[in-house]
Assembly symmetry: none
Homo-oligomer: 127 residues x 2
Amino acid sequence: MFESIDPRSPTPLYEQIAARVRVAVAAGDLAAGDALPSVRALARDLRVNPATVVQAYRDLAADGFVEMRHGQGTFVLEVASYLRDEERASRALELVRELLTEAARLGIGAEELARAFQAETGAEIRE
Amino acid sequence: MFESIDPRSPTPLYEQIAARVRVAVAAGDLAAGDALPSVRALARDLRVNPATVVQAYRDLAADGFVEMRHGQGTFVLEVASYLRDEERASRALELVRELLTEAARLGIGAEELARAFQAETGAEIRE
DNA sequence: CACACTGTTTTAGTTCACCCATACAGTGAC
DNA sequence: GTCACTGTATGGGTGAACTAAAACAGTGTG
């Protein structure tokens, strides 16, 4: 589930790990109540220090995504499940609208954004 | 022109200074060909080290906003259209990256965003 | 030339985010 | 209790970003 962690990426390891968990939850690979890999197990798999995984988990806990239970494990919370399917699509639309608004303020049009989006994600965009 | 610099702000001093110049240019307070305050003069006014002002000016020069002439001063450039395009493209990329980061926090991937973008702008996107 | 301005370069100190290592503490099965 | 797991807490090493200081170099005037 957490194969591709890139130590040379400019984004910190703990953020990459947290992002993986968020994606897994959003994609339904992890449901509310499910246990995440233990700190040590995941650290071993990713060849990373346990404290780094802890930092990722702590961030997720601060956001209300998961709950850390001393001696038991880290578990996905209910709240995370509302971000699914239509809800996700709607949230995506909202984010895109914010992007377009902010861009318009700078005189940047949709075409320019499309190019940037394509450059960043590799997606092919046509007008 | 550069009164309000806040040393306690989390945004670096040199970025604050550079931002002031951009605003001044955008607002027309500084026209093409105008000289910026000298490194030392501005540093004295802002009670900041000259090297800090240099870094701000260097950033602006790298963006094509100004030109630093050894022994003469720093001058606002004619904003050639291709430079504006470059600046716009760079800002667009920055905005898209923020979008992707924010989306990732919610477990929303690039694909979902591409769909939303297409729905909102009518642009055709292919993977 | 000297002089007073301009930007340039180099070096260094401070701070902070990131990551790691290690010891500490709770939980549950046996 | 003991054991094997779980998360917790503390301190340290590393490197990058930021700011500063000082010495170096170009320009134009008299």
